[in-house]
Symmetry: C2
Subunit: 287 residues, 2 copies
Amino acid sequence: MPQLFRKIRELRSFIKTVRCEGNSRTIGFVPTMGYLHEGHAELIKLSKLQNDITVVSIYVNPLQFGEGEDFQRYPRDLDRDLALCGELGVDIVFAPTDEEMYPQKPQVRIEIPGLTDILEGAFRPGHFNGVAIVVLKLLHILQPDRVYFGEKDYQQLKVVQRLVEDLSVQVEVVPVPTVRDKDGLALSSRNTYLTQEERESALSIYRSFLLAQRLFSGGNRDPQVIISAVKDFISKHPHVKKIDYVDIRDEELRPVEKVEEGHRLLVAVWVGTTRLIDNWRFSHEEV
Amino acid sequence: MPQLFRKIRELRSFIKTVRCEGNSRTIGFVPTMGYLHEGHAELIKLSKLQNDITVVSIYVNPLQFGEGEDFQRYPRDLDRDLALCGELGVDIVFAPTDEEMYPQKPQVRIEIPGLTDILEGAFRPGHFNGVAIVVLKLLHILQPDRVYFGEKDYQQLKVVQRLVEDLSVQVEVVPVPTVRDKDGLALSSRNTYLTQEERESALSIYRSFLLAQRLFSGGNRDPQVIISAVKDFISKHPHVKKIDYVDIRDEELRPVEKVEEGHRLLVAVWVGTTRLIDNWRFSHEEV
């Protein structure tokens, strides 16, 4: 079983000791909100492969949830997560309390104009401020050599990469491709909210990506045409309540006038009472 | 002579080596914009006393200067600084180029509402964003155990303390009292801008502090009365062109209705073409 830490101070002193054993061992870090699934497992496996020590944090960060969002409802099961981390060979799990992470409410505000105020940031004001603060805190506490983020939360990955570069954080940010269920649904802890019928409607997201990719492969380069087709396709499904956005952006999430390989299709859709996000990378390869 | 580094990568690998020699040696860090004076020397001496290794950075950070400010004019003399660092026993000097520090312009924006938008922040928009970014970058690059800031730039000290706390940066922020010339003028690299006559007018700042302290010691607790007296006193002097602000705040720079021990009188004054800042801590002790 992994070693479980609840306190920053104890974790810090343990890591200091461990790091100095042998010839400066490398630390890989996988930050999560727990309720781990195969997507997290991919991050962990890669960290195990690339580092001497793997640390997983499990913390549902209140700061990145807006009012009326699903902070209370977000699924939590530490025992199950610990068991899974044990199976995967995780060395250290850090599961702090809110009191430990935020003895007082942070007053700092971190923004990246043009990046934290679009897409998710436009629909979830303050979300990326919360993400930026918790990620910087965790990176400061752990000082890992590498940190792993899933491409499922593509905008979050971009925000973290920008922060790390702009602030010279001494860590390598490693992106990991989205893991999908056999039916194409991107793995997410929030999928547990879905009823079987809603899940069927949620599959429209992945299927709309295949549609978009077919349009692209067929020579269509107009973002508006592809966006409209995706919106039309998704909105036809019975449990789709609302589409927050469907957008196509370049790799750095800048607007594009012409779709090219490497550009991203990004969507946020309400299925029942569940908000799902997903994204797709346009490619010239066969799907 | 101290070891001089121009490149982040070389500094990082040197520090890694040095830190691992012996039983985890501590690193003290004194960030400066160079043109060192006795004030910096105090920071360095304290760092020498408290740490195994002392690092001084010398970098005139363009990001914290506004348009039309004195970035170009700011005094620079690396040879003189290196010699002084040598005399003081500094181990490492880090003097990066702009290209090294900012291969591209940072896009992140860091604010602390109620702290970075008052006093200096109100008169120098973007100043503390630039300070926050460069300080975080330097702390990330060096990962020191302690970092030293002069109380002369009191608001800067508070901004850094807040950042370190909110973001769990693993460093102890050590404040060092302002060093004054025999005539009371707070040491600042910008004092070199002053003519002899302007310097005489600049002394009104320190003398107004003594006046304010006398009012406080005499039982006056009304911030507005003290502020008016200070403004009147300073503005009478011939080379004083403009007073940006005179304010009294508590230790955390919150507004106050009643002056108490530990509260701070803060001023920003234009003397000739030179903008000077200084501050005073109210005390019940004899001056």
